[in-house]
């Protein structure tokens, strides 16, 4: 057991945050001109760019679905995104797993039956990784889908939480994530109050797990408020430009 203190006796974490405090959020819509929808999402030092292409014609006819849209997702990390330069940014197991997770999470909220025989591509690229990349990718994908005008049941927001030094911590950064303690990632549909993604590593007693999951859900709701503000601001800008 290492003696590193992740939460100091005064209640401050390694980067000066309180245990229930999230990192600073920043989002921008419409960054990739060529894409139908795109967004950049930052959670502290984790920076992710997402682009959505679709609905468009299915590229591989054999995969076409006659009653709903085909959703594809690819997650990749830039070579310089982590501390040491990565050799294989995509195609390795972690990237394939996260691509699958993001696809299934977003598929749950897109109204695919409205766009049969079409394809929606979600591409996520991690530019800087400092913990919570999975959550940042899902948040960025939500914004990009909204920017593309794809009909959805609700926005999906995601946040992670952990448990170190007997304290539930919200929004882990890379150092806290690598500490070996549990890491709970939650994705919810805030208005419908439903959980669409729930992943956890390491061991945790069930009652503490409920606390930590509750904390992550609070984090998701805070992100949902921020995302709604960003989308509202974007819509106002579009109205001004159209002269309404």
């Amino acid at each position: 057991m290492s003696k590193t203190e992740y939460v100091s006796p005064e209640g401050l974490r390694l980067d000066g945050r309180r245990p229930m405090e999230m990192r600073q959020l920043r989002a921008e819509i419409g960054t990739v001109a060529k894409a139908n929808g795109s967004a950049v999402f930052e959670m502290g030092n984790t920076k992710v760019i997402a682009a959505v292409y679709g609905p468009r014609e299915v590229q591989n006819r054999s995969q076409q679905l006659n009653d709903q849209a085909l959703v594809r997702c690819e997650y990749s990390m830039a070579n310089f995104s982590t501390g040491d330069r990565m050799r294989k940014p995509k195609g390795d197991r972690r990237s394939t797993e996260i691509s699958l997770v993001i696809r299934q999470t977003m598929e749950a909220c897109i109204l695919t039956h409205l766009m049969p025989r079409s394809q929606i591509d979600i591409f996520v690229q991690v530019l800087q990784a400092d913990g919570g990349t999975r959550s940042a990718c899902i948040n960025a994908a939500t914004l990009a889908l909204a920017d593309a005008g794809i009909p959805m049941r609700d926005i999906v927001t995601s946040c992670s939480a952990g448990y170190l030094n007997s304290t539930p911590l919200l929004d882990l950064n890379y150092i806290e994530d690598s500490a070996g303690g549990p890491d709970v990632t939650v994705g919810i549909l805030p208005k419908l109050d439903k959980v669409t993604l729930l992943q956890m590593d390491a061991k945790l007693p069930v009652d503490i797990f409920e606390n930590v999951m509750g904390l992550a859900i609070e984090g998701c709701k805070a992100i949902a408020n921020y995302i709604r503000e960003v989308l509202l601001e974007n819509t106002k800008q579009l109205e001004y430009r159209r002269g309404l």
Binding site: T31, V32, A33, K34, A35, S38, N45, I49, A50, A51, Y53, R56, Q59, R72, E74, S76, A78, N79, F80, S81, T82, G83, R85, D121, F123, V124, Q125, L127, Q128
Partner: protein, 300 residues
């Protein structure tokens, strides 16, 4: 030009868009007759260019370059390696260019874009042959340790002139590069030192130092169509008119590289000389933009 237009009168918005999609070449030629392009640029002018240094905080040097909508993010990471036997006093630069699927609707995941390895090779050749970086500067201990600089360039938005934007981002990243401080530890291995030197000798300066850049290469891609020369094409223009010429000049206006990979239009020497003249002008603009970006960083 003998066939009548599908819509003789182009006054309504919808018909212009349809004409643009259905008859792209005629749409462009109508504009070229007036010596202007659909985005209102004169034929020899490039799009608005911006450079932001230090875009990636975790890299040793980085830059984000935008030419119009084309966006390139370049980042350099330094690692220590053993130099090869033939060049014990020189470091090494590895240049890699990626086009992730976010940049363009025609790039599919699993299948890399056709343009990516071509631009990567072009960049590699241009940067290494231009003499911008003296590899001997990247040496640490002769024969035992030297720096390997990994330059990764990611295209975040592909809207024409990929090579120009990538070269600009690479050059800007090198001008932002700071070589980290290292020292020799007791095992004779090089370690990154935090703050002051910990042990024995310090093969490099006591503080992070910048790389001395020789002559910096800048480039301009031009499209040749009949007897017009269009500077800095967008992706729409590139897909319709396929003959392009890329000229790379360095800051002392010497020709570093000239690239014309075939194409339906044959160029006379006068056309090539016009391209070089356009590039010369562009080099002045780009130098100014780069210098402003660098001095902006130093003020911080």
């Amino acid at each position: 030009m003998g066939l009548p237009n599908a819509s003789g009168d182009l006054s309504t918005e919808v018909e212009v868009d349809a004409f643009r999609r259905l008859f792209p070449l005629r749409f462009f030629e109508k504009h070229l007759l007036e010596s202007i392009r659909p985005d209102a640029r004169p034929l020899g002018r490039a799009r608005d260019t911006t450079i932001a240094l230090g875009a990636v905080a975790s890299a040793n040097g980085s830059a984000l370059a935008k030419i119009g909508s084309t966006t390139m993010l370049a980042a350099i990471k330094m690692e220590v390696m053993t130099p090869s036997m033939e060049t014990p006093d020189e470091g090494c630069i590895a240049i890699d260019f990626h086009m992730p699927p976010i940049c363009s609707p025609i790039v599919r995941p699993g299948r890399p874009a056709e343009a990516a390895p071509v631009v990567a090779k072009q960049l590699s050749d241009t940067i290494l042959s231009s003499g911008m970086i003296n590899l001997k500067e990247l040496s640490l201990v002769s024969g035992k340790a030297a720096w390997m600089a990994y330059l990764d360039i990611y295209c975040l938005d592909a809207d024409g002139a990929l090579f120009d934007a990538a070269l600009l981002a690479a050059v800007a990243a090198f001008s932002h590069l700071e070589i980290p401080v290292v020292s020799l530890n007791d095992d004779g291995k090089i370690v990154l030192s935090e703050g002051q030197g910990l042990s024995d000798r310090e093969p490099v300066n006591k503080e992070k130092r910048k790389v001395n850049l020789g002559s910096i290469p800048f480039s301009l891609t031009c499209i040749l169509h009949k007897n017009h020369i269009l500077a800095d094409p967008t992706s729409e223009e590139e897909s319709i008119m396929e003959t392009f010429v890329t000229v790379v000049l360095d800051s002392s206006s010497q020709l570093v590289s000239l690239y014309k990979p075939g194409g339906p239009v044959l160029a006379y020497t006068s056309a090539i000389q016009d391209c070089i003249a356009l590039t010369r002008q562009r080099v002045k603009e780009l130098r100014k933009i780069l210098e402003e970006a660098i001095s902006g960083m130093e003020v911080d």
